[in-house]
Amino acid sequence: MSSAQQSMQQPDSPTTRMILVLTGIAMLSGFLVVLVAQLTAPVIAENQRIAIEKAVVKVIPGATTHKEFYLEDGKLVTEKQNQDSDSIYAGYNAEGKLLGVAAKAAAQGYAGMIYLLYGYEPSCECIRGIKVLKMAETPGLGDKIITDNNFQANFDALDAKVDIANRSLANEIVTVKAGTRQHDWEIDAISGATISSVAVGKALNESAQRLMPQVLTQLHVLEQSEVIHDAN
């Protein structure tokens, strides 16, 4: 302590000066970063909400608004309790009728993770559309999972029926070689972008197996909230 006080009296001592300057600048930068983070946080959150809304409306045909739910211990709730619970987005049409639910899926692609949002329609128990939220696939090859219309057509009504025991899907969603699709639960791969196509199938299968059996038992929660929606 005493030596520190001594050196405080001699500001020219190189070590003290170094520490003072570094501390001062670190504090200044800490202040600046926190300030900007605080200022931009609401805008960033709003941007993310808009991005989700756009995606939900795209993957659930006919939907115009959405509401976010969280899946916790097999129940859908509107307030998030657990940090890593899954988000389920319910999509409603203009009259407030529940059209479908959207959920996130992710799998390792060719270059990093592919993050997807897919729309699930409970009436046909099928996937009605996907939207890539984030990916780093090769432009011109892997990014055909977004641009290729034939590939997107796989998800017009991709079978994802839940089995009788209501534990998993009746048929695993799999990606098959380009042009060899035979069943409704198969995805035709894009030739030249097989790894990315397979990743999409894997992501959907993993997420739908885990989430949809739970969501289907909870549909009344989503529909009830639609009644509240109407009352408003």
């Binding site: 170094m18 300057v21 570094l22 600048i25 670190a26 600046l32 970063v33 900007v36 931009t40 011109g140």
Partner: protein
């Protein structure tokens, strides 16, 4: 920089234009190649990256030149890095707030501005030795030069590789894009092309001046 300025602090056209042409950070000094090659696969990405880098360069230049008298020599690099990292984090938040799509497109390369040696190089070689105003003028020139260079690459790569410019289709349906141009190898090819062009222009200028010199002597 042919004339020797008697007044060291004088702000001349050269202070500004150094970064534009004579010492263009990309085409002459070959600094900061990582973002140059990585994010110039479209014109809009190149422009955003250039502007983000310019912001960090300007802001850190102001702080470094203001504080340079207080910073002990031994810790100057560490201090510059802290200052640069601060502004990189700030621009990272700002881009997220402006557009999530752009943020996703630029990916990790915004954070990697920290490691752009052009910015550290300017802090060390110019801002720490010159008055704030002069440093700002110089940094502005460097930033514009860097953005210009990125745009040069971005525009060529997007036109060849995607048949578009700033996302606007140029050639219609029948155009078969030269995909390799928006892939990493395309970055090297286009950069090589630009370097060739700039070197050729420079050599021709030098030759012209030489001939003029001879003519004057005769």
């Amino acid at each position: 920089m042919t004339q020797i300025n008697k007044n060291k602090d004088a702000i001349t056209w050269e202070t500004f234009s150094e970064g534009l042409w004579v010492n263009n950070p990309v085409f002459v000094m070959l600094l900061g190649m990582c973002p140059v090659l990585a994010v110039t696969n479209s014109a809009i990405n190149a422009l955003a990256m250039g502007l983000a880098t310019m912001f960090v360069l300007l802001a850190s230049t102001i702080l470094v030149s203001l504080l340079s008298d207080f910073i002990p020599k031994q810790v100057r690099i560490a201090t510059y890095i802290i200052i640069i990292a601060t502004f990189v984090t700030i621009i990272d938040y700002v881009i997220q707030a402006i557009s999530l799509d752009l943020y996703n497109a630029l990916g990790a390369f915004i954070q990697l501005i920290v490691a752009n040696c052009m910015i550290l190089g300017r802090a060390e070689a110019f801002s720490s030795k010159n008055k704030p105003l002069k440093s700002i003028v110089n940094a502005l020139g460097m930033g514009i030069g860097f953005t210009f260079a990125l745009l040069c690459l971005g525009v060529v790569r997007e036109v060849l590789g995607a048949g578009a410019i700033f996302g606007i289709d140029l050639f219609g349906e029948n155009f078969q894009p030269w995909v390799v141009m928006i892939l990493p190898p395309g970055g090297f090819l286009v950069l090589g092309g630009w370097l060739l062009l700039f070197d050729w222009i420079k050599q021709r200028q030098a030759k012209d001046e030489e001939q003029e010199g001879r003519a004057n002597v005769a």
